[in-house]
């Protein structure tokens, strides 16, 4: 038999080598997709089942009588530690912490990138190098020093409150978490924006200077409106990281009313009293994962290229 198959032979032979390759590749891909989707599928179907069905049925079976009961219970009634008011309060805790942390770290990153590329000063490469270095610090190594700093800030807050009657948020666990996430997000956001602004036409900044725009006017009117792609990338990155963070959340707000979603979810699942309500746990986990999914879906639409088209010679 000839090693080189002629085209005629392939067509008469029915299945060509190419088709076989395709089938193998797609089967493998389907297998991997199935493998990764399986936990999600189990979570989803379990969250719509009753406890009876979970205990007596197959884990992979579709719910016979789908019910929203576990979702409602997870949201409003389930016990987190000793309080049984659902995870809704902690969901809002996370939102209150994530939104400012993402916005502040992104805006500061944009400002850093703007200065490091368009208002260069002596030693700007060193500053950028140090900020880059922040991307490689293992978070575990800063837990204790940061706790000390937060403690000092808290004491300063008390002094402020005694003096002025207002603590300016110092010592508040949510504010503490926002502060921690802004500080440790800054390295990444600065890196993103600096690299984007490096390719940003400097002539636009110069034109705006001649037009009489100030430092911040240039930033707000020229730089930011033309940074949509990198802005979206940074927001997605920061939102995902901060929302999913467990280490800082449990270390600095692990107990009490300011506890974020991730810690609360852990407490729901790790409860040591009564029956383990798998359906409620799964629903709670789904709720905890939804905002990041939503950010991808919504922000991804604005993830468009070519916003800079027409700025310079075309």
């Amino acid at each position: 038999m000839s090693v080189i198959a002629t085209p005629a032979r392939q067509s008469t032979g029915g299945i060509s080598a190419r088709t076989v390759n395709r089938i193998v590749i797609y089967s493998l891909l389907a297998l991997f997709a199935l493998f990764y989707l399986m936990p999600l599928f189990v979570m989803l179907v379990t969250s719509f089942k009753t406890m009876d069905e979970i205990q007596n049925g197959n884990m992979l079976a579709l719910p016979r009588a789908p019910t929203f009961e576990p979702w409602l219970k997870a949201w409003g009634e389930t016990c987190v530690g000793l309080t049984c008011a659902g995870i809704k309060g902690y969901f809002w805790n996370s939102i209150k912490m994530v939104v400012p942390a993402v916005l502040i770290s992104t805006l500061l990153g944009a400002l850093n990138g703007y200065v490091l590329t368009k208002w260069r000063f002596r030693g700007h490469t060193l500053v950028f190098g140090l900020m880059l270095f922040a991307c490689f610090i293992p978070f575990q190594s800063v837990l204790l020093p940061m706790a000390t700093i937060l403690g000092s800030l808290g004491r300063f807050g008390v002094t402020l409150r005694n003096a002025t009657g207002f603590s300016f948020g110092l010592g508040n666990p949510t504010v503490n978490l926002v502060f921690v996430h802004v500080v440790y997000g800054l390295g990444f956001t600065t890196l993103f924006f600096r690299n984007y602004y490096e390719a940003f036409p400097t002539e636009l900044v110069r034109a705006a200077q001649v037009d009489g725009a100030s430092f911040f006017q240039i930033f707000r009117r020229i730089m930011l409106p033309n940074s949509m792609p990198i802005f979206v990338v940074t927001v997605i990155y920061q939102f995902t990281n901060i929302w999913n963070d467990f280490l800082f959340a449990s270390a600095y707000a692990g107990t009490g009313d300011a506890m974020p979603m991730t810690v609360a979810l852990n407490n729901v699942v790790n409860t040591s009293t009564g029956v383990v309500e798998y359906n409620v746990n799964m629903a709670a986990a789904m709720i905890a994962a939804l905002p990041t999914l939503l950010v991808y879906v919504v922000a991804g639409r604005y993830f468009v290229r070519g916003l800079m088209a027409g700025a310079v010679k075309g």
Partner: protein, 371 residues
């Protein structure tokens, strides 16, 4: 007192000196073109006038006011950038009005100014478009509109036509010239294109390596270049710069040009520059523009000093309006510009007329003009 005065301007980046003491001045309503090869410092000089680069030493005055340390927006200038630098997030109208907006001009007044500029530049129908929806020529117009609307004391143009195609470039060049004639503004214009420099300028500064080589009117630069660099840089086709020697005797000097495989040509000089007698029997560079080297019938009739010599024609290039003939003198290819219908064949020997009143001489050692 001139309108724009630049005195002893120096600019250093670390230990590198970019501008080595520039002195220029320009009358009100003048058109100064800074021309030179890449890296000669012409754009840096423009940026220092705009205030986008600081200066190390010297002084820049506009209308008697020193502007050295003023912010760009306080200098009463407008600038057109090479890449146009239109704000991509704003409409054409927004781009034009941005400067006024920053200065707090009321909206109604802004609109009036936009309409006026749009009429001058015929961009009224483009006002609501974004820069990405414009063609190259339209972007160029908008960029000029943004400068015009400010009604500044001084316009700065940084190679504004270099991104356009050849035909559009000629159109816009004429438009800029017309704009200058009708508005009477004072303009400083940077280009590396010597044709733009010649056609637009009232004054040209030819620059090299951070120094002004020559500063004068286009005619001065073209006819009386002060050194080899200026002679070579300005004019297209470039001036023929032929290695030669000075022969003859004290009162009647002549230029001796070597020819391949034939006896040298000797051209008698009727009124040679006085400095030339010192170069007797020594090598010089003989400079003659292509249009001063032509067929005897096409030679300028009232020129006082025309010498004719037989030259071996190597290549003939009919360009439509003219015919260029290439011969070899002093070991270099020399271009002669003949009438379009001149009867000339490559490979033959033809008499060419040298218009020696237009000829210039350079010292090969210093590269300076011999006067």
């Amino acid at each position: 007192m001139a309108f724009l005065e630049i005195d002893g301007l120096r600019k250093q980046f670390g230990s590198v000196e970019i501008l080595k003491g520039i002195d220029l001045d320009l009358e009100k309503g003048g058109f100064l073109v800074l021309v030179g090869p890449s890296g000669c410092g012409k754009s840096t000089l423009l940026n220092t006038i705009a205030g986008l680069e600081t200066i190390t030493e010297g002084e820049i005055r506009v209308d008697g006011r020193t502007i050295n340390d003023l912010h760009p927006s306080k200098r009463d200038i407008a600038m057109v950038f090479q890449s146009y630098a239109l704000y991509p997030n704003m409409t054409v109208a927004g781009n034009i009005a941005f400067g006024m907006e920053m200065r707090g001009v009321p909206a109604a007044e802004r609109q009036k100014a936009i309409d006026k500029v749009a009429k001058v530049l015929q961009i009224g129908h483009l006002l609501q478009r974004k820069p990405s929806q414009l063609s190259g020529g339209q972007r160029q117009r908008v960029a000029m509109g943004r400068a015009l609307v400010r009604d500044p004391k001084l316009f700065l143009f940084d190679e504004p036509l270099s991104n356009l195609d050849a035909k559009l470039r000629v159109d816009m060049r004429i438009e800029i010239k017309r704009l200058h004639a009708t508005t009477g503004t004072t303009i400083v214009y940077v280009t590396h294109d010597q044709i733009e420099a010649m056609t637009l300028a009232t004054k040209i500064a030819v620059m090299r390596d951070g120094e002004v080589q020559q500063f004068g009117t286009p005619a001065e630069i073209y006819n009386n270049p002060t050194n080899l660099f200026v002679a070579d840089f300005m004019g297209s086709p470039a001036m023929n710069l032929i290695p030669a020697t000075i022969g003859g005797n004290g009162n009647a000097l002549s230029v001796v040009l070597q020819r391949e495989a034939r006896e040298p040509i000797s051209l008698p000089l009727a009124d040679a520059p006085t400095g030339l007698s010192a170069f007797h029997d020594r090598p010089i560079i003989f400079g003659v523009r292509p249009e001063a080297l032509t067929d005897p019938e096409g030679a300028e009739r009232n020129a006082s000093n025309i010498a004719t010599a037989d030259c071996h024609i190597e290549v003939v290039e009919p360009a439509g309006s003219d015919t260029f003939a290439v011969t070899n003198l002093g070991g270099k290819a020399v271009v002669a510009r003949l009438r379009a219908d001149a009867n000339i064949q490559p490979g033959t020997s033809t008499p060419l007329a040298f218009n020696l009143t237009k000829a210039v001489f350079f010292d090969p050692a210093t590269e300076n003009r011999i006067l």
